[in-house]
């Protein structure tokens, strides 16, 4: 990375608003770099070129606050549903599934039910990790990722958790019904 780019990056980082993602800040730095390069090529001194490039770019704080909200409502809603599904799975895995296992004890149950009952086992065992990891991943996607990554991560997490919850509930219900 050139020293000019580094200087521009520091200036943007210092001014532009902490709410910008890495990608958004990089785009502003790229713009400034292109502008400075064009001005220097046209004969301006480097410091003058940097000053003019910043002036023409506009008020960085205002630009920072004009960006759309970092999370789209759809991705945020999906993430919340996914997290709720995960909490529900955790609840069932800790408080209901043991009863299903008791009910199945000594009885012949189809292997698929065993698998469905075990879906919640990792969540129950590593519950703290499951509680924190999605929040950390969400924060990372918000900070570093683009809109597409956020959507894919949020919808993917939500879909996996919903399917896991439904499968687990199905397994628990059928096992208890076989009692």
């Amino acid at each position: 990375m050139g020293s000019r780019e580094q200087a521009l990056r520091s200036l943007v980082q210092g001014t532009a608003a902490g709410r910008l993602t890495v990608e958004q800040r990089q785009e502003l730095v790229d713009h400034l770099e292109d502008a400075v390069e064009a001005k220097v090529a046209a004969g301006a001194g480097e410091l003058d070129a940097v000053a003019a490039a910043f002036r023409e770019l506009g008020d960085l704080k205002a630009i920072g606050s004009a960006y759309p909200r970092a999370w789209s409502p759809a991705a945020l809603t999906s993430g919340i549903f996914g997290y709720a599904a995960m909490l529900a799975l955790l609840f069932f895995a800790i408080f209901v599934t043991p009863r299903a296992f008791q009910a199945a004890h000594g009885r012949h149950v189809p292997a698929v039910l065993d698998v469905l009952l075990l879906v919640g086992a990792p969540v129950a065992r590593y519950w703290l990790l499951f509680m924190i990891a999605p929040l950390a991943a969400g924060a990372l996607a918000w900070r570093c990722g683009g809109a597409r990554l956020q959507r894919v991560a949020s919808f993917g997490f939500s879909a996996v958790m919903m399917v896991a919850l439904v499968a687990h509930l199905f397994g628990v219900s059928v096992t208890l019904a076989l009692r």
Binding site: E23, Q26, E33, D34, L57, I63, Y67, P68, S72
Partner: protein, 108 residues
């Protein structure tokens, strides 16, 4: 003034990155905007699915974030043009009283 249709129109011919897009806008001569305002605008358009963005090497050899119109963006541009022609016709008809030669502006 809503600048989004202008940005869509500038992206119609080819994908552009922010700086190039601003240069194209300036070359058209009519736009006096702070250059940085284009980025929140582009990100908003991306969020609406009207443009899509990807990083690739520019002619300078550096990686730049290029924006290109999606099918939805092209449809939105088309409807923005239709609305604009309608507005021009309406305003001209009121302001100039029909002696302006804009009557057929929407026909093209």
């Amino acid at each position: 003034m809503d600048l989004r249709p202008l940005v869509l129109a500038l992206l119609e011919a080819e994908p552009l990155y922010g700086y190039r897009l601003v240069q194209r806008a300036k070359a058209k001569g009519a736009l006096d905007w702070e250059e940085g305002t284009v980025y929140p605008l582009l990100h908003g358009l991306e969020r609406e699915g009207l443009v899509k963005a990807h990083w690739r090497r520019a002619e300078t050899g550096r990686r730049r974030r290029y924006y290109e119109l999606t099918a939805a963006g092209r449809r939105r541009l088309k409807s923005a043009r239709t609305e604009w022609r309608q507005q021009v016709r309406t305003v001209s008809s009121v302001l100039l009283g029909g002696r302006h030669g804009f009557e057929g502006a929407g026909a093209s």
